[in-house]
Structures are given as C-alpha cells and as structure tokens.
Symmetry: C6
Subunit: 79 residues, 6 copies
Amino acid sequence: MDNWLWCLKTDTPQEGYELAILLSQKGVQYTQTSEEIRRVLRPQYAHDANSLIAVSQVIAINFQTVAAANNYWNAPSYY
Amino acid sequence: MDNWLWCLKTDTPQEGYELAILLSQKGVQYTQTSEEIRRVLRPQYAHDANSLIAVSQVIAINFQTVAAANNYWNAPSYY
Amino acid sequence: MDNWLWCLKTDTPQEGYELAILLSQKGVQYTQTSEEIRRVLRPQYAHDANSLIAVSQVIAINFQTVAAANNYWNAPSYY
Amino acid sequence: MDNWLWCLKTDTPQEGYELAILLSQKGVQYTQTSEEIRRVLRPQYAHDANSLIAVSQVIAINFQTVAAANNYWNAPSYY
Amino acid sequence: MDNWLWCLKTDTPQEGYELAILLSQKGVQYTQTSEEIRRVLRPQYAHDANSLIAVSQVIAINFQTVAAANNYWNAPSYY
Amino acid sequence: MDNWLWCLKTDTPQEGYELAILLSQKGVQYTQTSEEIRRVLRPQYAHDANSLIAVSQVIAINFQTVAAANNYWNAPSYY
C-alpha cells in the first residue's frame, strides 16, 4: 500500500479525530482491498444503527491513540 | 465538516462526559452524513437494549480519553 | 440533565466500582431519555446472559477510568 | 450490596487475574440482582463459545485495571 | 485452580504474545471448567470467522497488559 | 510456531500500523492453525461489513500497543 501515515501529530483535536477516522477506514481497506466490494458493502453498514455504533467505537479506540500521541493537545509540542 | 472540536478540556467531569457523548455521536455522523437517515435509524437503537448498551460503551471509551486529557479533573490545570 | 457527576474521586475501590456502574447507566439514559421506555427494556437485557456480559464490559471500561482517577486507591490523595 | 472490594492489590498476578474475574461477575450481579435468575442464565453462556469469549474479554479489561494497580507485580510495593 | 501465572515478564514480545493467548484461554476455562464441554465448543468458534476475530480481540487486550508489564521490551529490566 | 515477532519498534507509524495488522492476524492463526480452513473463512468476513469493522477494531487495539511501544514516534529513540 502507498504511504498514507507519516505522523500521528495533528494541529487540533478535530484533525486528530479525523485522523482516527482514517485509521479506522484503513483497517477495513487492508482487509478488503477491493474498492468495488467496499463500495457494495457501504450501504449495508451506513443504514444499520448497530454497524454505525460499531464504527464509532473503532474511531473512539483510534482516537485514544491519536490523542495520547498529541499529549491531548494540552501542551506545546517541541517535536 | 464544520469546526466542532477545539479542545478536550472541560471544567467538570460531567461536561467531560457530555463531550464524550458528542464524540460518540460524531463517529456516527461522519460515517452516515445524511441527517435524515440518522433520524430514521434513531428509533432502531433507542428502543433496543443491546444497542443502548453498545452506545454506552462507545461513550465510556471516549470518556477515558477526555478524562485523561483533563488529568481526571484532579489537579489544577496550568495550560 | 441535572448535575450528577462532580468528581471521579471515591473513598474506596467499591465506591469507585459503583460510580462506574452509574457512568454506564448514564450513557443509556442520555441516549434514551424516556424513563418509561428504559423500564420496558430492562427485562430484555436483565434476562439475557449476553446482554449482562455486555453491561459488565461497559462497567469494566468505566472502572478503568475511575480507578486511574483515584490512582488505584494506592496512594494518599493530596487533592 | 455488602462490602466485597477493599483493595486492588494482590500478592501475585494469578490472584490479580482472579480478582478480575470477581470484578467481571459483580458487573452482572449488580445488574441482575436475583441469584435465581443468574443461575438459570448460567448454562446459556457456559455452553456458548461466543459468550465465553465475551466473558474472557470482560476479564481481560478488568485485568488491565488490576495489573496497573499492582504496577504489574514488577516492583516492590511500599503502600 | 492450580498455579498457572507467576509473572507477566517474558524474554521476548513473541513470548509475551503467547502469554496473552494463555490469559485469554484462562478466562474461558475459569468460566467453563469442564474440559469436555470446551472440547465440544471448540469447532464452533474455530470455524467461524467472527468468533476468531473476537478471540483475536481478547488476545489483543491481554497483550496490551503483558506489553506494558514488560515496558514494551524496550529497556533493560532491573527487576 | 516459528519466530515472527522480535520487536515492537518500527521506523514509521505506517509500519507500526502494519505490525498491528500482523498481530491481529496472528491471534486468528494461533486459534485456527489450519491455513486451509482460514482460506475458506476469508470470504465470509471479507464480504461482511460488520466483520470488517470488527477486524478494524482488533487492529486499532493492537495499534495502541505498538504506538505506545514506539512512544508514538514522537521522540528519538535511545534504546
């Protein structure tokens, strides 16, 4: 797979949350590499409340990682 | 998406818990961007005990992040 | 919602565990605000082993947060 | 409920694991307080592989908490 | 149950991962103590993709604990 | 099983994410050792949105471990 993840640092918590979304999507893409099949599956989970809750959970777990990497955006970063 | 998350700091644990709820909802909103479809799905999970438990779990995971970001509201913050 | 969470500190681990239960219930209450509907749903999960296991998992996640906030009740607290 | 949790410290990792089991059971007991109903439900999950995996997951989450509270049994404790 | 867990330290990450597998199995064994029943259940989950994913998740959670106990095998241990 | 995990350190976050994928796969392989059966099961989860979300969750949990082991790739490593 091409380069897609260089750094876990983001400027703001919202960008960090959006990086967590990307990480969650990549877990699916590595496992199902066909973009066409993923497109077929999309309505299956985007219209199912339990699937959407499960997606939000994966994002929450990845957001924990991104937030820790950014020291919760609390302190100035010297990296 | 518009700006919705500037900071993980809150004044009280309860506000932190409510921010965790917002984070959990955002995970759904980013994945299903149609407000109309989300409105249709709402009764599906709001009347199902297992879905509600799953929602509470996502909130719990996000609350871990928010609580850590606030040093558990234990110490004065100098940020 | 009224104030219900002022502090994550508790005197004992057991009170911390009971606070974790409260946090888990609140995640449901914020999502399904009708007390009547929640009362109807209660037998649905209280008589289902898998639902009860799922509830115990949410409590476990919240207990991680409460335990960390209390430094695992290991050291005297100076807050 | 009577007192059942005074301390998260244990002498050995195995006792810590067994405390994690107790914590996982308590989450069920607080939610379904009838011992009789819990006894009825027991065969339901003790003979279902997915339920047993779910139980093991709750134990794993609680073990994280107990292990952290004991500093992973790595260092002498001065508490 | 006999002694089975004396220490969370391992020499290598792979041994740590294998300890995480043992911890995951023990959660099942404590809950379903009959070796015979567990043998019956084994094909049920070993041939089901979702069960195998769930098993891998329990291992992942236990591996977090073991890895932290070993300081991620990064530094020399003086214990 | 042969040696497959020597170190949790990686040069980049993306390599860390890919190590998290390997860890997630290994949890399945240790539990279902037959490569043939795993090949049969593959289409079962690779075409099911909920399974793919579950896989992404396992990866996310393992990525937390790998990211922590690498200090989130923020600081130079002196190990």
